[in-house]
């Protein structure tokens, strides 16, 4: 049981990273970034390729994939967000959906539709803490996920960039009046969000041992459900819900059957939407935007 809880925690922490990326963009810009799952896929894919093709050590590959995904976020802003009319709320969501589809097709055409597999050499040894079996990879994944989330929390609450993001989230006009370059904040929001997704992609890749080009529409889109479960725009909500879904999935696959695991996030989503539409931890959207 403890073993399953730990495994669930590890799985959940990567879910949290994905959900936090959705939440960041939604919280600051009020749009669904439907290309986020593909940023996550790109990160995982590039991470594996860097290790396989260039023999880069894992930390460098992780860094490289994170930066590459961050650049993807920059492109996403320039191509899909900035030129699009925001007055029609669906427009940016649809343009990001299109961007994601293009990315996925691009990867399939360039690298084929088969999953990319991490070299076995990377899958380091396991060890025991008391009765619990933990792999080094899992520990690494958990530590990195936690570090990234703490870093983001610090950024949002303690730095000037974070404060200007929160100001932009509450009202773009007021932020501009205070001298905040909202375009710059927007770019950085997309870049940070995508970079987190890229890192999550590598971490999931390490866990699964492989990344499929279609993972963006399976695990990636699950992050969207997790964000809504936690409460739209609520970063800490997304974090906790990610862990929660991870643990529930693990318990389900062990005690009910692995094929039911993927049902968890969506079932929870429906329950939350019916019983508590503002999300488990409440929504932080500012409705009275002027």
């Amino acid at each position: 049981m403890i073993q399953q809880l730990i495994n669930g925690l590890l799985l959940g922490s990567t879910y949290s990273l994905i959900a936090i990326g959705y939440t960041l963009v939604f919280g600051v810009l009020k749009i669904m970034n439907l290309a986020h799952g593909e940023m996550f896929m790109i990160g995982g894919f590039l991470g594996i390729l860097m290790v396989k093709l260039w023999n880069l050590p894992l930390p460098l590959a992780l860094l490289g994939a994170t930066i590459a995904a961050g650049l993807g976020g920059l492109l996403l802003d320039l191509v899909c967000y900035r030129p699009v009319k925001k007055t029609y709320f669906l427009a940016p969501a649809l343009s990001t959906l299109g961007f994601g589809i293009v990315l996925k097709d691009l990867v399939v055409n360039l690298a084929g539709s088969e999953p990319q597999v991490f070299p076995a050499a990377l899958l380091m040894g396991d060890f025991k803490i008391g009765p619990v079996l933990v792999s080094s990879i899992q520990l690494l994944v958990l530590a990195l996920a936690l570090a990234l989330m703490l870093g983001l929390d610090w950024l949002i609450n303690k730095t000037e960039l974070g404060r200007s993001m929160r100001a932009t989230a509450e009202s773009e006009t007021t932020a501009k009046i205070l001298g905040i370059n909202v375009n710059r904040v927007t770019i950085l929001t997309f870049v940070i969000s995508a970079a987190l997704a890229g890192a999550a992609g590598v971490l999931i890749g390490l866990r699964l041992g492989k990344i499929s080009p279609f993972i963006g529409s399976t695990i990636g889109i699950k992050g969207l459900a997790i964000m809504i479960i936690g409460g739209l725009g609520n970063l800490r909500g997304a974090f906790v819900s990610g862990i929660l879904v991870g643990i529930l999935e693990l318990l389900t696959s062990v005690y009910v059957g692995a094929i039911y695991a993927d049902v968890i996030a969506w079932t929870l989503l429906i329950i939350v939407l019916v019983m508590r539409p503002q999300g488990l931890f409440g929504s932080k959207i500012n409705v009275d935007r002027v």
Partner: protein, 253 residues
């Protein structure tokens, strides 16, 4: 300081500001009065860069600011408050003022900024003291009483070191005592060397504070003079002052 020439603003077919010209000298308090819908807030939106002018020129210290981006107005030294308070409800008083200080330190706070950080902290303490908000630093802006919210919004504008401060109905919703304190604060702000333009329906407050007063009606200037002459201007009395006291002040955005 501020030179407005032949300013016109149309919203579709509606003429909100029509061929308006006036000057504001450095270091004074300049009052703007007029009935609701006269174009006062529109004027502020143009001077602070929220709305684009239809035609005309706004000179700020000799520079035409009309082509600038909204966020650049603040960097030039124009700060403002809003008629319907626009604070960030989920930020504390301290964080609100820190956001106001934004343009004074760009980039992430990493190395070598310790001295600057110290200076910003000191300024922040000074602002809290000026506005009597010292014991509220960790309160959320959205939870403050109304009068304090108005003061905090002024503080947020001051934190950006404005040369020109635009106050849009700062006394709205305040009781007599709070209005009196507000008046003292605005005088203190003027003494700091900051030029103030104030839109206000509280006619005794605006006549008492201002060095010059401009009266707007239907987007046009109908009078501009020193306060005691404005008080006696028959056009002004008819257009505004005569029915000012009993009127319910509907807020027009």
């Amino acid at each position: 300081m501020l030179e407005v020439q032949a300013l016109t603003k149309k919203f579709g077919g509606l003429l909100a500001i029509s061929d308006l010209s006036f000057r504001v000298e450095k270091g004074i308090i300049f009052g703007v009065i007029g009935p609701n819908g006269a174009g006062k807030t529109t004027l502020f939106n143009l001077i602070s860069g929220i709305d684009r002018v239809t035609s005309g020129r706004i000179g700020f210290n000799g520079v035409d600011i009309t082509p600038l981006k909204t966020y650049q107005f603040s960097n030039l030294g124009i700060g403002r408050t809003f008629q319907n308070i626009r604070l960030f409800p989920n930020m504390t008083v301290e964080e609100t003022l820190r956001v106001g200080q934004y343009k004074n330190h760009t980039g992430l706070n990493l190395l070598g900024i310790r001295a600057k950080e110290k200076k910003l902290k000191e300024e922040l303490d000074g602002l809290l003291e000026l506005l009597n908000l010292g014991d509220k630093r960790d309160h959320f802006a959205g939870e403050l009483p109304y009068g304090h919210q108005r003061l905090l919004e002024i503080g947020r504008a001051l934190a950006g070191h404005p040369k020109l401060l635009l106050l849009d109905e700062p006394a709205a919703g305040m009781n007599e005592h709070e209005t009196e304190i507000l008046g003292e604060k605005i005088t203190r702000i003027k003494e700091l060397g900051i030029t103030v333009i104030i839109i206000e329906h509280d006619i005794s407050l605006v006549l008492g504070l201002s060095n010059r007063v401009m009266v707007l009606q239907f987007g046009k200037k109908i009078a501009e003079d020193v306060p005691h002459k404005i008080q006696k201007n028959p056009f002004v009395i008819e257009a505004y002052l005569g029915k000012g006291e009993e009127e319910t002040h509907y807020v027009v955005g």
